[in-house]
Each structure stands twice: as structure tokens, then as C-alpha cells.
């Protein structure tokens, strides 16, 4: 209950600042494969909170096209004349695939740097190199689940459309 109240208070504080919404599409390539991630963003001052879906092509890991759930956060480090922005952020996504040998849970955590340019004031294009950790947990076939984790790295581009600005 205490935690809920704390989260509620935090949300109240955050929502009292100027807010904006955004729709964003991120596309990139990393060691898992090629992906596309359409998401919704809530922008509060210099903080961007992201929730959305992430789809990997059926290539190096996945046999089926299941969407993964994605959560992310970006912090705006600097802004140059409202045209050029520097950001740092993190995103985590989770995927599930039922293979004939067992069930695969894949956790994909990435930290990234972002350089964004405003094509028009409400439309930004960003380049985001990232590095992170991928965890593959497989259960169902062997007595104990097996866990494979490795360093992941990649490059992504992001297109973001901001709307609904309010103070």
C-alpha cells in the first residue's frame, strides 16, 4: 500500500509538469536480428517514458513472428536551438516463443545513446547505437531451465512524432 501511495505521489508530481505525447517507430539491427518497435511515449520535461511492442524478423533466433513487450526510458542530455538533441536511454523487452524443444523466454536489455534532429518541430529523427545484455531462458525440455546470456550490440534509427503539448 505504501508503495502504491508513493508511486501515486510520484505520478502526481510528474504530471504537474508540462507534458507531451509521442508516437515513435524504432528500427534496427542487433545480434538477435532485425527489429521494428512501434511505441507510445509520454514526455515529461526531459524525461521520455516508452511503452510498446517489438517485432524481430524470423532469423537468427525466432521461428515465429511473436511480438515482444517493450518498456523504455530516455533522458534528454542537451538541446541545441531546439533542432538537435542528445539523449541517453534504456529499453527492456521480453519475448516468448514456444519451440518444439521447449519454451524460450528472451529478455533483451539495451542502453543507448541518441542523437536526434528535428525534421520539423514535431517530427524527430534519431540515430541510436546501443549496447546491452540478452538473456535466453529455456524451460520445458530439461529438468532445470537453461540460461544463456550474451553481450548484445546494435544500431537503430527512430522516428518520433510529438503531439498534444500541454503546460
Amino acid at each position: 500500500m505504501k508503495h502504491l501511495l508513493l508511486v501515486g505521489f510520484l505520478m502526481l508530481v510528474l504530471t504537474s509538469y508540462s507534458q507531451q505525447n509521442a508516437l515513435t517507430v524504432k528500427m534496427g539491427l542487433n545480434r538477435i536480428g532485425l527489429f521494428v518497435a512501434p511505441s507510445y511515449q509520454r514526455v515529461i520535461k526531459k524525461h521520455e517514458f516508452t511503452a510498446g511492442l517489438k517485432f524481430y524478423t524470423q532469423d537468427q533466433v525466432f521461428e515465429r513472428r511473436y511480438p515482444g513487450l517493450l518498456l523504455g526510458y530516455d533522458f534528454q542530455l542537451f538541446s541545441f536551438k531546439e533542432r538537435l538533441f542528445g539523449k541517453v536511454g534504456w529499453s527492456s523487452s521480453i519475448f516468448f516463443e514456444n519451440k518444439s524443444s521447449g519454451n524460450l523466454l528472451l529478455f533483451d536489455h539495451m542502453a543507448h545513446l541518441g542523437i536526434a534532429v528535428a525534421i520539423i518541430p514535431k517530427l524527430h529523427f534519431a540515430l541510436e547505437p546501443g549496447i546491452g545484455l540478452t538473456n535466453n531462458v529455456v524451460y520445458g525440455e530439461l529438468e532445470n531451465p537453461t540460461d544463456y546470456h550474451y553481450l548484445n550490440y546494435g544500431l537503430a534509427v527512430r522516428l518520433t512524432y510529438y503531439f498534444g503539448s500541454s503546460d
Binding site: 545480434r31 524470423q58 532469423d59 537468427q60 533466433v61 525466432f62 521461428e63 515465429r64 519451440k99 518444439s100 524443444s101 521447449g102 524460450l104 535466453n136 529455456v138 525440455e141 530439461l142 537453461t146 544463456y148 550474451y150
Partner: protein
């Protein structure tokens, strides 16, 4: 547009969709190349390592793995692709010049170790998956070809393991027919790797081998059709890109050694 034409198009699309769904796709056994793949820059774990083999089984859902088998100085069978050690380890010289204990001391790809065939058999036995052994019988460093006695001694430990751990059939692959003639046909399936499909067919019909292994660019549609008509099992290797995987699958082989297991399995769905 006339509504009847629209209805006709919808009906045709529905019927064609239903037909495609009912079709059963050709199923080939998919082996991970040296575990999870050997393409530099794409694999997660180094080829022929314990991690790569179990990753291919567990995460990539491979039906089996192809591994490269070499003999040590003291007749142990280890998994390593090249004869020379310099490129991938901190050792110098050739695998065949080292004892198993000495090889175990080496760093493979910085932080991995060279494993024995018996260790790989344990991994496949736990998961009841098959192994495809590419037996390397020619060594560098002036050693030349491996003798029959050396090979037989190496297989003793494997046969001992198989007596206590039942496994799906294990294939032994070689480019040399004389090497295959040393292999116990009651324990292993013999696969002959050849560019010459006609010679392969002759050897199969003479009951000297159980299947053929061919690189994708050694075989054409006609030859693949002939092998299927004669009911000769054949395995295709040398497939890395998505285009090559599609091309290889189009020949309807019985087995495929793939550098991209997940994509290979995907196209069979």
C-alpha cells in the same frame, strides 16, 4: 467495380488460402553447423564449443548438430575445425600434436575450452538429439593422413559411451571411402561427402554408405530429383545466407547443415 467480380476475387483468395494451409511441407532434419553456426560475426558462441552445441539445441531448436572431430596425439576425439591451433587458441602447431590434457589447458576463443566428443555426446544424450560427426582425417604440420588404428582407438571411447547411453543414430561423415570402411556400420551411419553424385549413388547401391553429403553448389535440381527417386538420403551443407537456405530447401534434402537454424526451421513451417 461490379460487386460480383469483387465477390469472385474474395472467394478465389479464400479457396487458395485454404489450399495452402492444408499442404504439408517437406520436413528435413536441421543440424546446426558446428553447433549454433560458424559464420564469423554472427554466431553467439565459438564453433564446436559446449556452449554453442547446447545453445543450438535449447535456443535454436536444432534437430541435431554437426561437429568437426579431430584426433589428439593420445587418440582422444576432440571437437575443433582446423588442424592448426594458432588462429583460435593460444597454442601453436596442430591438434594432432597435442595430448588431450595439453589441449584442455589452451584458451579457445579467449575464454572457452576445446571439448571432447564424449562431452558433446553427453549434451546430445541429455536432450535426445542426434550428432553429425565430420571426421577430419587429414592433419597439417607434416602429419598427413590419420591411420586406421588411430581412428579405431578414438572411437573406442565413443562406442563405450553409446553402450550405456542410447542416442538417436549418429552419422560419421568423411570425404574418404577408405576411412568410412573403418567405421562400424552397426553403430554409426556412414555419410560420404562427394562432389561426384554418380560415384555417391554407386557407393550407396553397393551398400558401402548410408547417405550422401553434398555442398549446395555441387548439386542441381536434376541430381536432387534422381537421389529422391532412388530414395537415397542426402544432406546439404554450405548454406549460410537466407537465399542459400531457400535454395537448399528447394532441393528437398533429407538433412541440412545450416548456419542459421531458426530461419531454416521457419521456412519449413
Amino acid at each position: 467495380m461490379d460487386w460480383r467480380l469483387g465477390l469472385h476475387i474474395i472467394l478465389v483468395l479464400l479457396i487458395s488460402g485454404a489450399c495452402t494451409k492444408g499442404e504439408k511441407k517437406h520436413a528435413a532434419e536441421v543440424y546446426g553447423h558446428a553447433g549454433g553456426g560458424i559464420s564469423k560475426g554472427r554466431y553467439i558462441y565459438p564453433p564446436n564449443s559446449a556452449e554453442s552445441i547446447s545453445y543450438a539445441f535449447d535456443v535454436l531448436n536444432a534437430d541435431g548438430v554437426e561437429v568437426d572431430v579431430r584426433l589428439t596425439k593420445d587418440s582422444s576425439m576432440v571437437l575443433f575445425h582446423d588442424s592448426g591451433l594458432e588462429l583460435e587458441t593460444d597454442g601453436v602447431g596442430c591438434v594432432e600434436q597435442y595430448t588431450l590434457a595439453e589441449l584442455k589447458e589452451l584458451n579457445y576463443a579467449d575464454r572457452y575450452e576445446i571439448i571432447t566428443l564424449t562431452e558433446a555426446l553427453h549434451l546430445s544424450s541429455e536432450r535426445n538429439r542426434s550428432l553429425f560427426l565430420d571426421l577430419k582425417t587429414v592433419a597439417e604440420c607434416g602429419i598427413g593422413s590419420i591411420s586406421e588404428e588411430w581412428v579405431n582407438k578414438g572411437f573406442e571411447e565413443v562406442e563405450e559411451f553409446l553402450e550405456n547411453h542410447p542416442l538417436p543414430p549418429i552419422t560419421v561423415n568423411s570425404k574418404s571411402l577408405s576411412v568410412l570402411s573403418w567405421i562400424d556400420g552397426d553403430v554409426f551411419l556412414k555419410s560420404f561427402e562427394t562432389e561426384n553424385i554418380e560415384v555417391g549413388i554407386e557407393q550407396y547401391q553397393a551398400d558401402n554408405i548410408d547417405k550422401l553429403t553434398v555442398r549446395l553448389d555441387w548439386i542441381n535440381n536434376e541430381q536432387a530429383n534422381l537421389l529422391r527417386d532412388l530414395q537415397i538420403p542426402f544432406c546439404i551443407f554450405g548454406i549460410k545466407t537466407q537465399k542459400e537456405i531457400r535454395e537448399a530447401y528447394g532441393l528437398l534434402p533429407t538433412e541440412m547443415i545450416s548456419d542459421n537454424v531458426a530461419f531454416t526451421k521457419k521456412i519449413m513451417r
